[in-house]
Amino acid sequence: MISGRLVSSGMHRTIQRRVVWLLGLAMAMPGLCIAASVEFGSDVQPLLSDRCFACHGPDAAQRQAGLRLDLREHAVVPGMSGRVPIDPGDPAASELIQRVASTDPARRMPPSYSGHAPLEAEEVEILRLWIEGGAEYSTHWAFVPPERPALPAVSQPGWLRQPLDSFVLARLDEESLSPSPEAAPRAWLRRMVLDLTGLPPSIAQVRAFERAVEHEGEIAYAKAADRALSSPRYGERMTMDWLDVARYADTHGFNNDSERSMWRWRDWVIEAFNRNLPYDRFLTEQLAGDLLPSPTIDQLIATGFNRNHVINSEGGIIEEEYRVEYVADRVRTLGMAWLGLTVECARCHDHKFDPISQADYYRLFAFFDNVPELGEAGRVANAVPMIPAPTAGQRARIANLHSRIEGLERADEVSAARFEPSADALAALAAPEYPHNADFFVGCEDGPDAGIAGRSCGAREIDPQTEIKLEKHGAFTLSMWFRADVEHSDAPLFSAIDYSADPASSEYGRGVGLRSTGSEVELRLSKRFPSYSITVRSSGASLRPNQWHHVAAVYEGSEGKRSMRAEAAWVRLYVDGREVGTKVLHDDAQSAANFVAPYRLGRDNSPAKREFSGAFDEVAVWRRALTEDEVIAVFEAAALPWAVARASSEPERRWLHSKLNPASELTDARQQLFALERALPTTMVMQDMDSARQTHVLMRGRYDSPGEPVPPAVPETLLGHWPQAAPKNRLGLAMWLTSGRHPTTARVVVNRFWQQVFGLGLVKTSGDFGLQGETPSHPELLDWLAVDFAASGWDVKRLMRNIVLSATYRQDSAAEQSLRDRDPENRLLARGPRFRMPAESIRDQALELAGLLSGQLGGPSVRPYQPEGLYDGVVVGADYPGTKWEQDEGESLYRRSLYTFWKRTLPHPTMTVFDAPDREFCTVQRSITNTPLQALTLMNDPTFVEASRKLAERVLQESGADRSERLAHLFELVMGRSPTDDEQRVLGETLQAILESLSAEDADPSGFLAVGASASTAGFDDRELAAYAMVASMVLSADEAITKS
């Protein structure tokens, strides 16, 4: 007679009366069958967890009086006091009951200072009944892997459309409730299309659907759902929610909050949803794409999920403090996104409610602790580790260029093999003059006469008086000859960079340096190494020891460029007179570095004290960027006579071949490739270091208080066994989560998709399935969905399809007052979902209805209208990228809202006013509020004012001259249904009144009609257009327009 499950909170009033009455009856007449129906999991455990476990639960450090109530074997034996906390079968003898029921504040538990409310009489009664019944414990539901439950018998089998409906109806049967009638086809269509694409259906779609329902019946629904699922807009809609979970943003956060580039990751998500990437792959690639065998670029991009966290670039922070925060953020996100557990609560101490120890936490932490990342980073651009992330189009162009280059190289090879330099040709070669106009030059007159240019010198300091002061734009060229005695894994060639400061300080590694790294060279332009440097390594330089090479590093500087930072893309590297490819290692410098004296050849003052063994010559610096021809001249001034003198030996013969038979097409193709590669977007990714960092438990969660070392591991006793043969890294972690036996992953995921559609999950606390989380409203349904989802191959489209085609979903959302009172949040699902649309959809819908919305999929984030001066007095007072809002033009003003530039510390107000989170950390649920600022936004945000005008134009164009026809059309466009007579009257009267007001002599609607960048279509009367636009604005701001119903 008493269901042991949760009923939604709104049913309280009536239900409480009944419970009190019932309990009263039970107390009056012991032996009544209530005791049998007290369930530990749903009735008792939440109570113990909420009121007792903070001091008498899993957290050993906080445990009071040695008493532990979360485990039966501890709770039923006498405690330190000698009294038995829980005496099964005998509530009166149980200390627990005595203490919670005590009227003496000094004895009563929980104590008032704990902040926990004392137990109500009914709650004490529940504990009493439970103990009387034997005080049996059971494992928390979420820690038991779901089994596919049998479909329950229901009262009206004819109502069912999907298996999931059985569970909903069975629950309604229990509650003696009936489902609501089915929504009208067009109401379902609007709801479904909004849910799956985030945009409303067009009138044509609505009408076609109604006809199809008439002719084809049921199949029309499936077809309509399939159409929505196959629209590229579907991926965008699904991505919207994932961006909150993944804390995606276009800036780094913290008080500098400068720009980052992660849109390639965002586009990966859109694409993943659109191609229906199975969810286990979706999870695995984001968690561990880099650890898959031979990962593709896309799989690497996917790992950006774990780099979307905030990164701090505030000068002077302690690096380790923030590196630890980044790792902790990954653990928290893992917990909320997939485990459904508040694991972060175990960071400073054992979890107070769930059986997760602090050591468990740090074992999870260890999976993410091994990234070669910096604590202070992200000052003006992406932080390492990062990769170039070409788009599909760029990849195709790169592949094309590669094959062209290969072909040309083969041809050149053939010609080179046959090449015999003729004496005449050699004689005709004239070496250019070395341009002795450098701002700094060391010719090494003290060296032995062994160098290519006649003289050379070894490692040494250069006169400390020598100083090169670059212009503000920072351009320079550094050129030198050198010959290495051995291959150096890493050694300085030229150092004008000061490493004397403490590496923890912001002064460390300031200046310009060139290094030899294996067969490549590496240029450093640094404000602070490595965080705020441009570090670029050559790619394909093929430098060899015991051979003279010429290297020139050219930095173009910022002159004439619009960038708000210094960029690695402005570096060119030339080896032996030929441009080579570059690989960017760091690219996070606000401005160019200067040369810091004293300068050194072959050595530097870094703590590692590496020294170059070999010789140098003609070391020169220009305070400008030399052109390619100039660089070639510098090289050939020495190289050409040398080669001519050795024309028959290698590699000189080959070089002469290329000199005499310039493969300009090849050079051109190479340079195109380099230019393309320099311009590629980058994205931050996960990486593991070769030698793993040892993770420690951090006492009290503090970065500087390491405790015992811990290996990467998961809480297996709680959440299931580690799969055999799974590697002990993030890939193994992904395998564990997606094994199909994991108790929470599939439940958490289906619950979140359910929440996306119904507003609340079956577990309302969608980020917390632990003891303090809410018990599911429909436990069997949750399990059925979870098991079915995993068994289907984690097929997201199938899940969404099943939901939108279900009878549950197809119900009308209107409800009688009595049902609303009983179930205000619709937890029982006796009606269809109805709630305000998310921020993005509200704006996107207005643009779509106005015919303004751009269909472009993906790409860098855009800056539509935003109130001027929004950043004044708020954003950091430094010219970092991302601190100014320079409004875009044209199509970019009308992109879908998920492409709007997301500045974490101050997101676009139209998003936040409609409850979008700031994305500083993982959010699995937005609140849905109702505020005057929302009203103001709909009334006056230029986006909505402009959309009203364009919508009015559309109405005037698409319908005849009849006023009521026009108004009906307007209404139908927005609401997806025709107005009722009453509504038609409101529209007509409002229009009439506005027209009258506009007929006043001084009425001038031109300013109103000029809002927004889009031109007005010619041919309308200003006053008439304005009147319709105002009515359109009114309709767009009506409750129904912004509500998914």
Binding site: M1, I2, L6, V7, S8, S9, T14, I15, V19, S42, H116, G253, N255, D257, N312, E314, G315, G316, E325, A501, S505, Y508, G759, L760, K764, T765, D768, G770, S813, A815, Q817, E825, R836, P867, E868, G869, V874, G877, P907, T912, Q925, S927, T929, N930, P932, L933, A935, L936, M939, V986, S997, L998, A1003, F1008, A1010, V1011, V1031, S1033, M1034, D1039
Partner: protein
């Protein structure tokens, strides 16, 4: 038979939800994160303050050059701060390379003021004038040593993002007492030095995990005073009224059909928006202020967006019973050139802050308005870079710093706490940031341990698990 035999269903779990933390009014208007209770009845006890004006000084004002005179630093000028004083204090990366941490005295003269004899720097002549009204706390300390975590800690009770701000907590607990204006208003000022300064973050006035309607509303000095407040050009008030009436009628029809109470709320919110379109401009229009008022607040008070102008607006907001007014002034981050830049910051803020207190007092509002003047930390007694008597800088310092409060329920003309001879550590009366927060809540009649919100299974407080109202500063 049960009273409702057709259902025959009851859940005790439901009962628990209700009795422990059942949803109140909030649950009905907020779908989603509303995991928590309607706030218990606040205030818990008779409040001294009905409202708070928080004058936040972002960047870290130097306590040593403004509030806390340390003659010893003069005697020890250039000498290293002894290890016994330093005690392994964490230093920031900005001075991590310094070989020495040399004592740096202030170049400003200090004098005692008022009946109370509170000693203040010559940079604060106007604050000196209200010495007998303020309660100066010289013994505040914070864990954080960098701006972002420190200001986030002060304003939200946690160094890391995610928690509701103080104003949001107060709004959540006490609600609004003005039906035409938001309960939590935020004002940013631009320093005369220029728009530079530490970035401020929306989280500082955000709602965190509280329903987002508790977030602070920024009032702006240029453009729309509240975002999107003004109707589009060419639209008359009459037309706006017609549109709102039409929308309300459509909404009522819809309500009649579907019965969703959210629709009624929406109708009310549109009306509130309409009222704000009148009440906010009226508030922002200072043209009718008396000449003497401008003189009181200083010449900057005529320039919108200055700290002075914002202090004047804060008084107007207090008059209209807005619960929590949060001002920000930036530019206190004096790592270098302190003698050149600190006087500018002081000049920007000294007179308006003092004027606000005097103005509230003469209007009888100081009795139930709490004014708080504080930055996120202080500055080091050692020099950042070379210690030169006329050109020095100081790094961030969290071990001790000074703030002041004035008004409702606070001891006037009182100094609480002291620091050691170097101004490096607290000597007596240590006050944590949590204590400051608990004190502010206490003055509003809120027991900081009772103002809780359940989120992610945990009961969160502004003061986390710590804090105590500072008894000694309570009048």
């Amino acid at each position: 038979m049960t009273p409702n035999s057709q259902s025959g269903l009851v859940s005790r779990r439901d009962l628990l939800v209700r009795s422990g933390y059942g949803l109140g009014a909030i649950g009905l208007h907020v779908l989603g994160v509303a995991e928590s209770p309607a706030a218990p009845a606040f205030p818990n006890f008779a409040p001294k303050a009905k409202r708070v004006i928080f004058l936040f000084q972002s960047g870290g004002p130097s306590h040593l050059d403004l509030f806390d005179h340390k003659p010893l630093l003069q005697d020890r000028f250039g000498e290293d701060i002894p290890e016994s004083v330093f005690q392994g204090q964490r230093v920031t990366g900005m001075v991590a390379h310094q070989a020495r941490f040399q004592a740096m005295p202030t170049k400003y003269a200090f004098q005692r003021h008022g009946q109370s004899g509170i000693s203040l720097s010559e940079l604060l002549p106007h604050t000196a004038g209200i010495a007998d009204d303020i309660c100066l706390i010289r013994s505040v300390h914070t864990e954080a040593i960098n701006h972002d975590p420190a200001i986030t800690f002060f304003q939200t009770g946690s160094q890391l993002p995610g928690r509701p701000s103080m104003g949001a907590w107060v709004d959540y607990g006490l609600g609004s007492s003005n039906r035409d204006l938001p309960a939590f208003v935020v004002l940013h000022s631009v320093a005369s030095e220029g728009p530079g300064g530490q970035g401020l973050l929306a989280r500082l006035w955000g709602a965190g995990f509280l329903p987002s309607r508790h977030q602070g509303v920024q009032f702006r000095s240029s453009g729309d005073p509240v975002l999107y407040l003004n109707d589009p050009p060419g639209m008359t008030r009459h037309q706006r009224r017609l549109m709102l009436d039409g929308a309300a009628r459509l909404n009522k029809l819809q309500y009649r059909r579907v019965g969703d109470p959210e629709i009624e709320t929406r109708i009310e919110q549109y009306e509130m928006a309409y009222r704000m379109q009148a009440s906010v401009p009226e508030l922002m229009d200072v043209s009718a202020e008396a000449e003497g008022t401008y003189e009181l607040y200083g010449p900057d008070s005529r320039k919108p967006g200055t700290f002075a102008a914002n202090c004047l607006l804060a008084r107007r907001l207090a008059e209209r019973d807005v619960r929590f007014v949060q001002l920000y002034h930036r530019g206190w981050d004096h790592h270098g050139e302190l003698p050149k830049r600190l006087p500018v910051s002081a000049r920007d803020t000294d007179q308006p802050s003092a004027a606000l207190v005097q103005d509230l007092k003469q209007r009888g509002l100081l009795d139930d308005t709490l004014v708080v003047w504080a930055g996120e930390f202080g500055r080091t007694p050692y020099a950042q870079g070379d210690p030169k008597p006329d050109d020095y800088g100081r790094d961030h310092h969290g071990k001790c710093f000074s703030i002041w409060m004035a008004g409702a329920g606070v001891k006037p003309g009182h100094v609480h706490g002291s620091t050691d001879e170097y101004g490096f550590n607290v000597a007596e009366g240590a006050v944590s940031i949590y204590d400051v927060q608990a004190t502010i809540l206490h003055l509003l009649g809120i027991d900081h341990e009772q103002l809780v919100y359940r989120f992610q299974g945990r009961r969160f407080r502004l003061t986390d698990t710590e804090g105590q109202a500072i008894r000694h500063v309570l009048a």
